[in-house]
């Protein structure tokens, strides 16, 4: 045990606490005292989560993986019938708090994938090798899609891809795995699909044998052609709904209002920012959901380029720390878990900030540790707890 304690990763904990503190300050500035108080209730719960997963013997968690995964599926099904939420069924309302099972699915799916992949010696680009992991990821993904919550559902894909890569699958094969869906989504607009097709063609002809390349290209084409066919079968309003769901970036009339507001807030921060509590955009209420998905805009407005860059660096170091822990762990299962978590945190941070900067479509992805919300904070804390556990005890 003494030997293990030495490995306790103090810098990871410090980075985490830094992010949580930034989040609290930002929530206070953007949402006011009411939201800060509510979020403060979740902070001890988050700390408890960190220590719980830090102290929990991983063997127990390993043994519990399947039951936890099954429980997640049950909750995801139950939320479809019992859940609440505006326009979708995403949360269980428990008293004045709400619980979002799709958040916890991120953890259990990663655990399940890690367990499955860890006793596979080698992963090959064939059906027998990939059917298992795909099923593990796709079933909860489809259930979350039914809520419907596309942006959370997509959060399951990066850990899946990263873990397959970590386990030795070539990036080309991972890309080909997702190609049909990418092609279908790109198919909503020719302007998107043509560059996609060209990119795919160049890639497969450079990296694959001729006939396989042709087959891959043909598959992509079929899926790409499928979307206009599907669209033509739908009524007008169904078509708009489908496009805005699967391809929110396909906005024929240019950038959305929220994106502009967010960019004005960020841009007006300039080099040094307007100062803590001095943001004007968020105070006037022009920023939508300013304490949740749009909190980075408020931070960037008040702390400017320097502050935003520092925040990016903190997040980057945190993820780099987790990657190193994964690399140093000799426990294959634990290593995969850490990779999966790193992928989730990185994906969410990148998508959240990218959409606020106007680089990506606006979707409902939270900024880890910083956005207001209990489920999101607790999920992130549990991940960190487990990664600390991994770094401390190489089982």
């Amino acid at each position: 045990m003494t030997n293990n304690r030495r490995r306790f990763d103090i810098s990871l904990l410090a980075l985490t606490l830094t992010l949580i503190t930034i989040g609290l300050l930002a929530i206070y500035s953007a949402g006011g005292g009411r939201y800060l108080l509510r979020q403060l209730i979740f902070v001890p719960i988050g700390f408890f989560g960190i220590f719980l997963f830090f102290l929990l013997p991983r063997r127990i968690l390993y043994g519990l993986t399947e039951p936890l995964y099954a429980l997640t599926l049950l909750l995801l099904i139950a939320v479809l019938f019992l859940g609440t939420g505006p326009g979708a069924r995403r949360w269980f309302q428990i008293g004045s708090f709400s619980l979002q099972p799709s958040e916890f699915a991120k953890i259990t799916v990663t655990l399940m994938l890690a367990k499955y992949l860890s006793y596979k010696r080698e992963i090959k680009p064939n059906f027998a090798s990939l059917a298992g992991p795909i099923l593990i990821m796709v079933i909860p993904l489809l259930l979350i899609l039914l809520e419907p919550d596309l942006s959370t559902a997509l959060c399951l894909v990066p850990p899946f891809a990263a873990m397959l890569y970590w386990q030795g699958l070539r990036p080309l094969h991972i890309l080909l795995l997702f190609m049909p869906f990418l092609s279908f989504a790109a198919g909503f607009s020719l302007y998107l699909w043509i560059p996609f097709f060209v990119f795919l063609a160049v890639l497969v002809f450079l990296r694959m044998r001729f006939f396989r390349a042709i087959a891959a290209l043909a598959t992509g084409t079929v899926f790409g052609l499928l979307s206009p066919v599907v669209l033509s079968l739908l009524k007008d309003y169904q078509r708009t709904r489908l496009i805005s769901f699967f391809a929110p970036w396909f906005d024929p009339h240019g950038m959305g209002w929220n994106a502009i507001q967010s960019q004005i807030a960020i841009g007006s921060g300039r080099l040094l920012g307007k100062g803590f509590l001095h943001g004007t955009q968020k105070r006037l209420g022009f920023l939508p959901n300013r304490h949740t998905d749009f909190i980075f805009s408020a931070i960037a407005e008040e702390t400017g380029f320097i502050g935003s860059l520092l925040l990016l660096l903190v997040i980057g170091f945190l993820i780099r720390r987790i990657l190193l822990i994964a690399y140093n762990s000799r426990d294959k299962n634990a290593s995969l878990i850490a990779i999966g978590f790193a992928a989730i945190l990185f994906y969410q941070a990148f998508v959240n900030i990218g959409m606020l900067l106007g680089l990506l479509p606006i979707t409902g992805v939270t900024l880890p540790f910083i956005s207001y919300g209990g489920s999101s904070l607790l999920t992130c804390c549990l991940m960190i707890g487990l990664v600390l556990n991994i770094s401390a005890q190489p089982e």
Partner: protein, 575 residues
Amino acid sequence: MKNRLKRLTGIIIILFGILSLRLSYLQLIRGARYARLSDRNRIRKIVLPAPRGRIYDRNGVLLADTRPSFTVTVIPTETNDSALTLLASLINLPFAELKRRLEPIVAFPSPVTIYRNADPTIVARIQENNFRLPGVLIRIDPVRNYPYHELYSHTIGHLGEVTEEELAKDSTYRRLDFVGRTGVEASYEKVLRGKDGYEFVEVDARGREIGPLAEKRPEPPIPGKDIYLTIDHRLQNLAAELTKNYDRAAVVGISVKNGAIICLLSRPQFDPNIFFSTINPSFWKNLVNNPSKPFYNRAISSGYPPGSTFKPLVALAALKDHIVTPTTTLLPCTGTFRYGNRTFKCWSTHGTLNLLGAIEQSCNVYFYQLGLRLSIDSLTEFCQRLGLGKPTGIDIPGESPGNIPSREYLDRRYGKGKWTRGTMLNFAIGQGEIMLTPLQLATLYCCIANEGYYYRPFLVSHIDSAGIRVKVTQPTRIDVSINKQDLMQVKKALTRVVQFGTGRAAQHNEITIAGKTGTAQNPPRPDHAWFVGYAPAEAPEVVFAVLVENAGHGGAVAAPIVGELIRAYFSSYDE
């Protein structure tokens, strides 16, 4: 492993690098501009209302369009209570109501519509007080305009302000928007409405607009699609002219060859333009409390006893059941008919007639005798086969199914076995519980004219979007199994009705008109006058059904109206 760690780190650095580059672009390069825009959030979102689609008649006569009107709007974030108090007094609106209209405060400074179709005096008053009314803007919006006023009140229908329930259901509507309530305006609401556009403009510190926002392209409004009706404006106008001396009347004209409605009129009418103006309360009260119910579409929503216009149908049912042949004579008409201890009257003394003669002279006594021999089930079945007793399916809302009493209906109404064959006597002359709308009678005669089929009546012939035809109504043919020989005999009788019988007032020099009069009893008030006719008798093109409430004899009142309409119909098409 080492390689993969390096690559993953590389991906993180590249992607976060992209974010940093974008950050530096927004904050360092474009920072000054965004700082200026955010200074007092100098962007305003302006709604560009979509003009509603136009409505034309079959020859391109414009029946409904939009005209510019003044709209008073308020930007909630730029105004204050003292300005609102002043505004409330200027537009004669309670302050609380004004506040309520501002309620859906949106997250950005966007003008909220407060008062539509403001008259110029109000606009002038607001402009005079401009300096005391920060955040109050006058905008010019398209508003519905009906150049022919009341002429199409029931066909095109009218608009009404959107209700709270509709707002809750469909978020694309905004407060004070107008929605189709009746007629084509209602059934084609989605087609006519179009889609509002948006524009983002930059404003200076004093709230004056500088120009469009470069970052956001305006989304132009998509005007509603244009609708072409099957209505012929000339005939509609004439129908109104011919019925102008009657309080309550209905006129339906249908093209026999495809079901296109060429004229649809209900009296009394109202001017649908009134919904866009400040209505004089007493005027409104008169309209709503008018016992003749001006909002009621008598042509499609009101069932009337069809009277003698129903007789050809009874004749066909009797022929089908082989109760009579066209030449069968029954007991002579002495002006009355005794059944049980009741005396049923005829309108004249006709002596001995055969079936065709009985139709021609509209002899009740002959039809009483048919009624006694007909089975109720057979008659009900025959009516239903012709589509009576249910809506015809015309493409505007509010259609009544009419009433075709069945055995079950009579049992329910009078008690099992409590009704007698006396009821059938009444049915045989189109009285009693039988109720048909003028539209149903018109389609019935289309079926007779076509010898066994008719088309579902429709009002919209095609829809254009920006000058391009996007939809054309395909006529729906409905076949009815009726013996063609029987139909030809009845048609012969209908021709004689106009030549020699009760419908002589509908005669025309060159065109043979066929039809049937009806005088529907409506005790204790005067009879309703009916005439349904088609022409030319040899090769029918058009059917007109005219009903005039409480106006007396169909032959005297309704037949000449149909005659005039048919005359006009052929003169306009022969030219």
